[in-house]
Symmetry: C2
Subunit: 258 residues, 2 copies
């Protein structure tokens, strides 16, 4: 049984590091970017920019969230960690989404964990403010519900993929999903971490990634992955990637455009 080694470090983030924050640009998050004027006016003043460090845990199973997070250039994995320590990624959230849907869905918590998979920044909003805005039954509610359905599709497809597809196919899918949520073609991600996300052995990832590298689709070295030939990567991936992508595009056209 492969025991997942996961970096657990809790919020609050150490503000004492004298980090140079980038300009305050909540619109980097696409969900925030498409909000109408009125909603922006109400929410943006309360958004707080926070650094998202690799491995940081945004929330643990069963613990109520104090904030929701809108990733800007970071990526967050929702993953379930089993009793024996093995793990599996349920879904991934980037600049197209929001972390903490259980707040407006009404459950307050989930059985899963949210971990920063790719470092960067996010904007966070105190939970009560989001709930209040959601309660207005306006643009925010409409958008968040559609986003939730898209997320739901991603989870469903993850289940299918886990059942039927090879490690190599899943790796392709995973790379593409991550790529869509970043600005360039470079991922910072060791094979060990990818293995934890996919719920497979590290060696399995090594082998699959080796094949992709030999084929000239990607290049990687010590945690830096560069996608060289995205079209061919898409061909290698199983249908799951396309299904999820198509559904996101359909449900959230304004957000996925660009």
């Amino acid at each position: 049984m492969s025991l997942a080694v996961i970096v657990v470090s809790h919020l609050p983030l150490p503000l004492k590091d004298h980090l140079i924050l980038p300009a305050h640009q909540p619109q980097q998050n696409r969900l925030l970017a498409v909000l109408p004027e009125a909603e922006r006016g109400r929410l943006f003043p309360h958004l707080e920019q926070v650094p998202m460090k690799l491995g940081h845990v945004l929330y643990e199973p069963g613990v109520a969230l104090q904030h929701v997070y809108f990733p800007a250039d970071s990526i967050v994995s929702l993953l379930y960690v089993m009793e024996n320590g093995a793990s599996a990624e349920i879904a991934v959230v980037g600049k197209e989404g929001i972390v903490g849907i259980s707040l407006f869905m009404g459950g307050e918590t989930t059985p899963s964990r949210a971990v920063v998979q790719s470092a960067g920044y996010a904007y966070r909003l105190p939970a009560p403010l989001l709930k209040e805005e959601f309660g207005r039954s306006g643009a925010v509610q409409h958008l968040l519900l559609r986003y939730t359905q898209a997320l739901l599709t991603q989870m469903a497809q993850t289940a299918v993929c886990n059942r039927h597809h090879s490690v190599e196919q899943q790796l392709c899918r995973w790379l593409l999903l991550s790529l869509d949520r970043l600005s360039d073609n470079n991922l910072t991600m060791t094979q060990e971490l990818i293995a934890n996300m996919l719920g497979v052995r590290r060696e399995g990832v090594t082998e699959a990634a080796g094949k992709l590298q030999t084929a000239g689709l990607i290049s990687y070295s010590r945690g830096k992955i560069i996608v060289l030939d995205r079209p061919r990567l898409e061909k290698k991936a199983c249908e799951c990637y396309a299904v999820v992508k198509t559904e996101f595009d359909r449900l959230l056209p304004d957000i996925m455009a660009n």
Copy 2:
């Protein structure tokens, strides 16, 4: 590659069969049962009782729904069918839930299919009426969102289970989930169909079910399964069943009670 053999028969249901409908009791569906007076008054007059025959397809991927379904004593599987015909169950809906969440989530359709897994009856409501009621931001919206979160947990756990657990463990989980949605201990379900749901070979189910029967946990013959020792079945199941059950109980205490 195992090609799933699925009975495809489209609605509208053949009303010409001179079926003797049971008494009109929408409260059999727990979601309907816990609605406040006002909501009942608005919705119940429009509920239509419909027979749910084994294998009937309530909706196909990408096709907009005309109704939502509230199962009474029937069970519906949400499953994804791959391009090559293989399939995998995403979630299961019984008297605790509703089929057609994409209507109020805003997407209108999903990439999955809804199939009757256990015959019986359901109550259906025209889509516009549900949407209108959801828009009131009252008890119905609150309940449906919490139910959706529970469903989401089920999907997530299905993904985990598909990744990490054996066919035998998954069979136990599946039997228990089905059992919770029925009134007695008898399932009418061939191993072939179970295999399609779990996304495994029929032979795999035969072997796993054989072990369970030898151990005295269940008894089955030609599509009739009787659960003899539920406590031990729960012990054999992976943690996934308990996680989902606990989460449903937490999110929907009134509904899951009893």
